[in-house]
Symmetry: C2
Amino acid sequence: MARLSILQLGKGAIGSALVGQVAARRQEVKARLGVDLVYVGIAGRTAGAFAPGGLDLARWRAEVEAGAGLDGRRLLKKASGVVSGSAVLVDATAEDDLVDLYRDVVATGFHIVSCNKKPLAGPLADYRRIKDLCRRKRRFFLHEATVGAGLPVIKTLRDLLDTGDRVVAIEGCFSGTLNYLCAALDRGEKLSRGVARARELGYTEPDPRDDLAGTDVARKALILAREAGLDLEPSDVRQEPFCKVRRRGGVDEFMRSISELDAKMAKRWREAAARGSRWRYVARVDGACRVGLAEVPETGALGRLAGPENVFAFRTERYKDHPLVVAGPGAGAAVTAAGVFADILKVARAIAGTA
Amino acid sequence: MARLSILQLGKGAIGSALVGQVAARRQEVKARLGVDLVYVGIAGRTAGAFAPGGLDLARWRAEVEAGAGLDGRRLLKKASGVVSGSAVLVDATAEDDLVDLYRDVVATGFHIVSCNKKPLAGPLADYRRIKDLCRRKRRFFLHEATVGAGLPVIKTLRDLLDTGDRVVAIEGCFSGTLNYLCAALDRGEKLSRGVARARELGYTEPDPRDDLAGTDVARKALILAREAGLDLEPSDVRQEPFCKVRRRGGVDEFMRSISELDAKMAKRWREAAARGSRWRYVARVDGACRVGLAEVPETGALGRLAGPENVFAFRTERYKDHPLVVAGPGAGAAVTAAGVFADILKVARAIAGTA
């Protein structure tokens, strides 16, 4: 029986959901693909667990908590040389500065599956270096869940490009969080209440300012742009914030201060409604890349969005008059984990080498 | 260099587009995947060409025309034993009764990639036999383009199921052709004119009655239902026709007679418009499977569809409140060929065994 060892960074909402999903499907994957998915390590920021023979997934959380000090880097050091055969590093964190670590693990033969946007949305040179290395080493670097969570966005773009289509523009609402807030404001809810609720529901980034500044959407737009072959730096993305965001101070302080913006945002929304339109946070990738609030007709495809939905419209040479559209909830732990899991299964299928 | 031999049945609009797309990307695929896509045979109904070393794709049409009598079955007989290594049978026909042929080629080691709905929408026993055989032999049987042409429909469903999600319902407009006709009738165009135009544009099945009777949509619904794990016979699909269809006589005769329905359909559409609604041909797969005309609000997601667009809305355990939606043109030679090509590349990637 072939085996795919899994080393996971991150044990938050997404990481936890993923462990549960993989555990629930392990027997089925064994039977169908002839590949055993074995969790050999899981690390949080301050603790982790490692077991070359496989962690006991029924009590993985306790095992991780018992392993104080075993963070991601230490875990990987421990694993190198011990883990043989096919292995995948799963990045379920929102951490920056992981490109070097990625490079080290790919050099030792790991594949990478990630829902972490940051390492993909940094300097172009970093992006190219890791992508080139993976190509040379013939390792997967899959990151479907970095854009649209479980929605088929990057794989759709890849299929278009791989079959020789040419992208004219990718446009839409790429942030479940901001769409959720837009819909809340449509209903007359206060901004501060909406942000607090979105945070409770797990829709926001660890620091909600990453969403509100538009940084999260800008990262997704940049990832799509690069995937489509555009050589862009983060500074090339024209980014207007969803609302004014004070960067000084911690997250809690910011959450207390956000009600200061309630009146201004409510007014903006009322004025648009009087014009028969709505505000939506729209991203567009063509030759360039820009993200910002745009006034759209309330009865249009974007205006009618409600809840944590994303929309991605691909206009290409073949889909010229009518775009190819993928839409749906683009945030949440279960659907993001499912996006990561689908990528892991892609690696598993390649190992199986057959259908 | 690994090699994937391609044997193609069908040289109509889709088959021709596919040969062009593969030829245009062959060098790129070689460089990226290390797999050479080699067309060793192409057969139409009455003529075909076979060259174990690879056909000259710059003049494949002339080579096929020169090979009178070499139909699909003869081509496959000729190929068996001669074609070694990995090989894929591409079915770009709309022919029935190919299940036995599929079984023979899978038994000799071929993968299958198809945009032909009929062999997948026949008796359940046939469907099971070919799917089981492929599973046992670890051969791919990919048919993304049978539903929604180039849209990511079946692969999206597969990812949902493979990651442990459960389908509640798949609903939408599955026929580019019928949506095109609905939109034409919305604009006040005559049914007969719309059907003639749809046929010119290559949107219809070879026999447009397959579209108008709803048979084509019923087949797609059945394929999705079976892919989702429902054991249904064709007779289990509740199918109401788009309009009355006389089955006697040939296609040309039918095309001349269709104007008899113009007045009745126009009236039906006018009456709906007066109620603020539109007719759309809607399919729904839940425990059961049904297709037929449904009156929908003109400003809703389905009512606003125009042109040859498809919509597929997946409601699942994870996508419960808001569905995962895939939409866009679901007919046309180029996008259908691209759907087939993406499947061929999936086989090629498995052969490459790596990213």
